[in-house]
C-alpha cells in the first residue's frame, strides 16, 4: 500500500500518522506540502492529519479547505482513492464538502483529550473491515471542535446508507448522553462519504497503535487498509 500525508501549516499529527503508516506498511508515506498541485499516481491512501491548520483562527479546517492541494484531493476522491481525515483532517473534509455535516465547538467549550469508547457502526468499508459490527474499541480524542452536526435530511441519508462509521459509547457499548464527550448529534464520531471511500473521524487511531502508548486498537484501521491494497 502506498500512502501520502498532506501537511498544512499548523498540522501537528503528521509525524504521528507517518510513524503508524510506516510501521504498518513497512514504507514511509509521501509527505505532501499544502501548496503542491499534484498527488502522484499509484497512491492508495491519502491522510489528512490532525492539528490546527492556520491556527484554526477561522472555523476549524476552513482555511485549509481552500488550499491548492485540496482540489487535487477532490480529484482523487472522485477516482475512488481512499481518503482518511483524522480530527482536524475530518474538519477539513467537512469544510471542503467531501463529507456531510460540520464540526462545532465541544458542548462544554473546552478542549478534551482522553480515551473514549467507540462502537463500530459499519464494517463494510475499506477502513473498518477488520472490526466486527458493533465492536467496542478504545481510541483517544483530542479536540476543541468535535461536536458533529448535520441537518435532519442529511442525517437520514447517513443512516439509510449506513454512512455512520463510529459512535461514542460507554464501555458496554451503550450510546447515550453520558457517553457523548462533545455533544455530537446521535453520538457520531466518524462518517463515510457516500461511496465509503472517504472516512472522517474525530478520534485519533494513530495514538493507540503502539502497546507502549497503552493500546493497539487503532492499528486495525491501517491493517485493514493494508489488506485491501496489497
Amino acid at each position: 500500500m502506498k500512502s501520502a500525508v498532506i501537511v498544512f501549516p499548523g498540522s501537528n499529527c503528521d509525524r504521528d500518522i507517518a510513524v503508524t503508516l510506516s510501521k504498518v506498511t513497512g514504507k514511509k508515506p509521501l509527505m505532501i506540502w499544502h501548496n503542491e498541485n499534484v498527488i502522484p499516481k499509484g497512491i492508495d491512501l491519502i491522510v489528512l492529519p490532525g492539528g490546527f491548520t492556520y491556527g484554526d483562527y477561522l472555523r476549524s479546517g476552513a482555511i485549509a479547505s481552500t488550499s491548492k492541494i485540496i482540489s487535487e484531493v477532490k480529484n482523487k476522491a472522485n477516482k475512488g482513492v481512499a481518503i482518511l481525515g483524522v480530527c482536524n483532517g475530518f474538519q477539513i473534509l467537512t469544510e471542503s464538502g467531501l463529507l456531510s455535516g460540520i464540526l462545532l465547538p465541544n458542548k462544554n467549550l473546552k478542549f478534551i483529550c482522553k480515551d473514549v469508547h467507540l462502537r463500530v457502526e459499519e464494517n463494510n468499508s475499506v477502513f473498518t473491515k477488520l472490526f466486527k459490527l458493533n465492536e467496542i474499541i478504545t481510541i483517544p480524542i483530542a479536540h476543541h471542535d468535535g461536536n458533529y452536526f448535520v441537518t435532519e435530511e442529511e442525517l437520514n441519508i447517513l443512516k439509510d446508507k449506513n454512512l455512520i462509521a463510529l459512535r461514542y459509547c460507554n464501555p458496554s457499548g451503550e450510546v447515550n448522553i453520558d457517553s457523548n464527550p462533545n455533544g455530537s448529534i446521535e453520538n457520531i464520531a466518524g462518517v463515510f462519504s457516500s461511496n465509503k471511500r472517504v472516512l472522517g473521524m474525530m478520534p485519533h487511531p494513530e495514538r493507540l497503535a503502539d502497546i507502549k502508548l497503552g493500546g493497539i486498537e487503532g492499528l486495525k484501521f491501517f491493517e485493514g487498509l493494508l489488506e485491501g491494497f496489497s
Binding site: P9, G10, N12, C13, R15, D16, V19, T20, G50, G51, F52, Y54, G55, D56, Y57, K110, F111, I112, C113, K114, P140, A142, H144, H204, E206, R207, D210, K212, L213, G214
Partner: protein, 734 residues
C-alpha cells in the same frame, strides 16, 4: 528635558536614584534620552538583571560530567547518551497571568518553548507548576479556568504534549497567582545553538511575527508589586499566536539543519533590547540596527515602542553571509517575516537608527554585564517546634481520610489535564497523574522522566529545609518511575526582596536547594527568578519550584503507581516501625483536618534520601517490583489511597498493634511504598538488608476497599467518585 522631568521619568520607569547616577557615569555624564533610559530600565529590571538574587544564585552547583551547558544560556543542556541532548528550562509568567489569565499563561508557554528550540531542540514535552488562591476566593475559578485554557490553547496548537505538572491552592496566592511553565526538548548533541554573536559585518536577522505595541514594559511590570490598580496594567500583557510559533519552530529547525546559523536568541522579556544586548555582550561585538527595517504591525511605531515591545513569536539570528538567501527561502516557505535589520560591528556599542538618524548610542558591556548587584539584608527565623501538642487521634482515620480525599490540593486533576493534549507526538509513555511524566525519546527504547515539585508551606516555615525538600521530592518522583535523576531547573517565586524576611526566604531556600542538588547529584542547569509577588504588601508563600529531569534506560522497566494484582504484599521503604509516630508539623493532615498551619516542616536527611532512592531504582531495574509511589502530601494513608484509586484494587493494613493518625498521615521524608509479587518478596527483603534499607511489610492489596484498622473500611467506589469529580463539580457550580 529638565531635571524634574528626568526625575519623573525615572519613576515612570523602575530605576532608583542610585541606578540613574550610575547611568550618568556609564555615559560619561551625558543624560540619556528617553529611549536610552527605557533601555536601561528594562535591562536593569529585576526580571532581566537578577540584581537581588545574583549573589546567591552563583552558589548553586551547576556542573556534572553530563552537563553540556549550565545557566546563562537560553536553557540548560544535558547529555543523555546516543549523541542526544536534553534541553530544558522553567520560567514564570505570574504577573501577566493574574492580569489576563488566558493570554498570560499562553504566552508563558510560548516563551519557554522558544527558549528551548532557540538552542536547536525540538520541544517534546511541556510541564507546569501552578498556584492559585483559596478555592473560595472570588477570583479563583476565573483565574484557574483562564490559565488552564491558555496553557492548553497554546500547547495544543503548537503540537507539543503537556504531560503533567502540579496545581495547588492557598490563600496567600489570592492576589498573585503563580504560573511556572517548563519545556523539555531533544537535540542532536553536536548541534546545539548558542547566543554569542560573532563576525563583524555579519547580518543580524529578525524572523517571526511583526512587532506591535503589546507588552511594552512587561519586564518592568513583572518587577514590581501589585496594588488595587493592577487591572490598569492589562496593556503590558502580550498576546500569543501559537500558530506562528508552530511555523517558527519548523522554520528554525529546518534552518538549523543546514549549518547556517552563527548565533540565535529569542526575543523574550524586554524584546529586541534584551536579545541584542545578550548576543553582543556574549560575543564581544557591537551592533548597528536600522529600526526602519523591523517588521511592524502599525505605522506610527516609535523607536521606543520597537525596542521595548514584547510582541511574541520573534527571534533574532546572526547567519553566515553566504547562507542569507537560503535562510530567507526557508522562512518564506513558512510564510514568516524575515528582515535584515542590522550588522555586527567592532565598536562594542549599540547604535540605533530611525529615519536615517541616530536615536541611541549605548555601550554594550556596562549595560549587560555591569548591571546592579545587590546584597540585600536578610533574616532567617525558622520554626523550631514540630507542632503544639494535641490529641490528633481525636478523629477517626476514616473521617480524616475522607476529608483529605476531597481537599483541593489532593483531588483528581483530571478536569485540568483533559484540557491539555498530552498525547500528541506519540511518545507519552506515562500520562498525567503519576509520580512523573514519562516521554519516550523518539525512535528509541529510552525515555525522559519529568516532574515539577515544591511544598511552599514547608518553605514558609523553614526555607532551608523547604529548599532541600523541593529537590528531594523531585528526586523521589523520578526514582519512583525508575529514572536516574540528572539535573534540575529552578523557578524561584518570592515576595518583595527589599523586606529582610522575604530576602531570608530566598537566601536560605537557595542554600537548601544547593546542598540537596549537590548531595543528590542533580545540578541546576537553568532557572528563573520571580520576585515582588505581592499584592497590597501581602507576599505569597515562598515557592521555589523545581523542575527535574531523569533518564529511563529502558522503557520496559518503567513503573507506575497503581497496584497491579490483588494479594500482593505491600512494603514501606524508609519508614519507621514505631506506629505511634509520624511528623505532623506543616502536614496537610494538620492543615485540612485541624486547621493548623503550624510548626516546623519535616527534616530531609539527604544521605538517607539518596540511599533509599538508589535502592528503589535498583529494584525497579531488576524488575523485582510491580508498583511504586513516593510518600508526600497526606503521608502513608494518601499514598496508599492513590495507589488504590488508580488501579481500583483495594488495600488492607496488617499491623496488629494498630496505628495512630500521626503514623498514617505524617509527612516524614525519604519514603516510598512498593508492591511486588509474593515470589519476589524474599529477594527484595534480602537486598534491603544488605543495603541497610529500612523495609517492612505493612499490608496487602485486594478487595474493593481501603482498611487501616480491623473491621473498618471505606469502599473505593465512594472515595473515587468524590475525588475524581470534585474539581469538575467545583468549576461547574457558579
Amino acid at each position: 528635558m529638565t531635571d524634574t522631568d528626568i526625575n519623573k521619568n525615572n519613576k515612570a520607569h523602575g530605576l532608583t536614584e542610585n541606578e540613574y547616577n550610575n547611568i550618568l557615569k556609564i555615559l560619561n555624564g551625558r543624560k540619556p534620552n528617553n529611549l536610552e533610559l527605557g533601555i536601561f530600565d528594562v535591562m536593569w529590571s529585576e526580571h532581566c538583571s537578577y540584581k537581588s538574587s545574583k549573589k546567591w544564585l552563583k552558589t548553586l552547583p551547576t556542573k556534572a560530567p553530563w552537563v553540556i551547558c549550565g545557566p546563562g544560556e537560553n536553557a540548560g543542556v544535558i547529555d543523555v547518551g546516543d549523541n542526544l541532548a536534553i534541553i530544558f528550562k522553567m520560567e514564570s509568567h505570574n504577573h501577566p497571568s493574574f492580569i489576563e489569565p488566558y493570554q498570560g499563561a499562553a504566552t508563558g508557554v510560548g516563551g519557554i518553548l522558544r527558549d528551548v528550540f532557540t538552542m536547536g531542540a525540538r520541544p517534546i514535552a511541556n510541564m507546569n507548576a501552578l498556584r492559585f488562591g483559596d478555592i473560595n476566593h472570588k477570583k479563583t475559578k476565573h483565574l484557574l479556568s483562564g490559565v488552564i485554557s491558555g496553557i492548553g490553547g497554546y500547547g495544543n496548537c503548537v503540537g507539543v504534549p503537556t504531560v503533567g505538572g502540579e496545581v495547588n491552592f492557598h490563600k496567600s496566592y489570592n492576589g498573585n497567582i503563580l504560573v511556572n511553565a517548563m519545556t523539555v526538548g531533544l537535540a542532536d548533541k553536536n548541534k546545539i545553538f548558542y547566543s554569542a554573536a560573532s563576525g563583524v559585518g555579519n547580518p543580524v536577522i529578525y524572523v517571526g511575527s511583526k512587532t506591535g505595541k503589546d507588552g511594552i514594559h512587561g519586564a518592568t511590570m513583572a518587577s514590581a508589586e501589585f496594588d488595587d490598580n493592577t487591572e490598569e496594567k492589562r496593556p503590558t500583557v502580550q498576546v500569543g499566536d501559537p500558530f506562528t510559533e508552530k511555523l517558527l519552530i519548523e522554520a528554525c529547525l529546518e534552518l538549523m539543519a543546514t549549518d547556517s546559523i552563527i548565533a540565535i536568541q529569542d526575543m523574550g522579556a524586554a524584546g529586541l533590547t534584551c536579545s541584542t544586548f545578550e548576543m553582543c555582550s556574549k560575543g564581544g561585538t557591537g551592533i548597528e540596527l536600522n529600526l526602519d527595517n523591523v517588521p511592524v504591525r502599525e505605522k506610527d511605531m516609535s523607536a521606543y515602542d520597537i525596542m521595548l515591545s514584547e510582541s511574541q513569536e520573534r527571534m533574532l539570528m546572526v547567519v553566515k553571509p553566504e547562507k542569507e538567501e537560503l535562510a530567507r527561502s526557508i522562512f518564506k516557505k513558512w510564510e514568516l517575516d524575515f528582515s535584515v535589520i542590522g550588522y555586527l560591528t567592532d565598536t562594542k556599542k549599540m547604535v540605533l537608527l530611525k529615519n536615517g538618524k541616530e536615536v541611541a548610542n549605548l555601550p554594550i558591556d556596562p549595560l549587560a554585564e555591569e548591571s546592579p548587584e545587590y546584597d540585600r539584608p536578610w533574616v532567617f527565623k525558622p520554626e523550631e517546634q514540630e507542632i503544639k501538642k494535641y490529641n490528633f487521634d481525636s478523629i477517626h482515620w476514616t473521617k480524616a481520610l475522607k476529608i483529605l480525599n476531597t481537599c483541593p490540593d489532593l483531588v483528581s486533576r483530571e478536569w485540568i489535564w483533559t484540557q491539555y493534549d498530552h498525547m500528541v507526538m506519540g511518545d507519552t509513555i506515562q500520562r498525567p497523574g503519576g509520580d512523573a511524566a514519562v516521554v519516550r525519546i523518539h525512535n528509541s527504547n529510552k525515555a525522559i522522566a519529568i516532574t515539577t515539585d515544591t511544598t511552599p508551606r514547608y518553605v514558609s516555615a523553614n526555607a532551608y529545609e523547604g529548599g532541600k525538600q523541593a529537590v528531594a521530592e523531585s528526586f523521589r518522583n523520578l526514582c519512583s518511575v525508575g529514572a536516574t535523576p540528572l539535573a534540575i531547573t529552578d523557578n524561584l517565586n518570592f515576595g518583595n526582596p527589599e523586606k529582610p524576611n522575604i530576602m531570608g526566604q530566598l537566601v536560605k531556600s537557595i542554600e537548601g536547594i544547593g546542598i540537596a542538588c549537590k548531595e543528590l547529584e542533580m545540578p541546576v542547569v537553568s532557572g528563573n527568578v520571580s520576585l515582588y509577588n505581592e499584592t497590597d504588601g501581602e507576599a505569597i508563600q515562598p515557592t521555589p519550584t523545581i523542575g527535574a529531569v531523569g533518564l529511563i534506560e529502558s522503557i520496559d522497566n518503567m513503573i507506575t503507581m497503581g497496584f497491579k494484582n490483588p494479594d500482593d504484599p505491600v512494603f514501606l521503604i524508609g519508614g519507621n516501625n514505631n506506629f505511634n509516630k509520624g511528623w505532623l508539623g506543616q502536614s496537610l493532615f494538620a492543615r485540612e483536618v485541624f486547621e493548623r498551619e503550624e510548626g516546623a516542616p519535616p527534616n530531609v536527611n539527604l544521605q538517607l534520601e539518596k540511599l533509599n532512592g538508589n535502592f528503589i531504582k535498583r529494584i525497579i531495574n531488576k524488575k523485582l517490583i510491580n508498583s511504586c509511589h513516593d510518600i508526600s502530601d497526606g503521608g502513608i494513608a494518601i499514598c496508599l489511597l492513590e495507589m488504590s484509586m488508580t488501579s481500583s484494587i483495594g488495600f488492607t493494613l496488617e499491623i496488629d498493634s494498630g496505628v495512630t493518625n500521626a503514623w498514617l498521615f505524617g509527612e516524614d521524608q525519604g519514603r516510598y511504598i512498593i508492591t511486588c509479587e509474593n515470589a519476589m518478596s524474599s529477594t527484595i527483603i534480602d537486598l534491603a538488608k544488605k543495603n541497610k534499607i529500612s523495609m517492612f511489610k505493612i499490608g496487602s492489596t485486594g478487595g474493593k476497599y481501603i482498611s487501616f484498622s480491623r473491621n473498618e473500611k471505606i469502599y473505593l467506589d465512594e472515595l473515587k467518585n468524590d475525588n475524581k469529580d470534585w474539581l469538575t463539580n467545583y468549576m461547574s457550580n457558579n
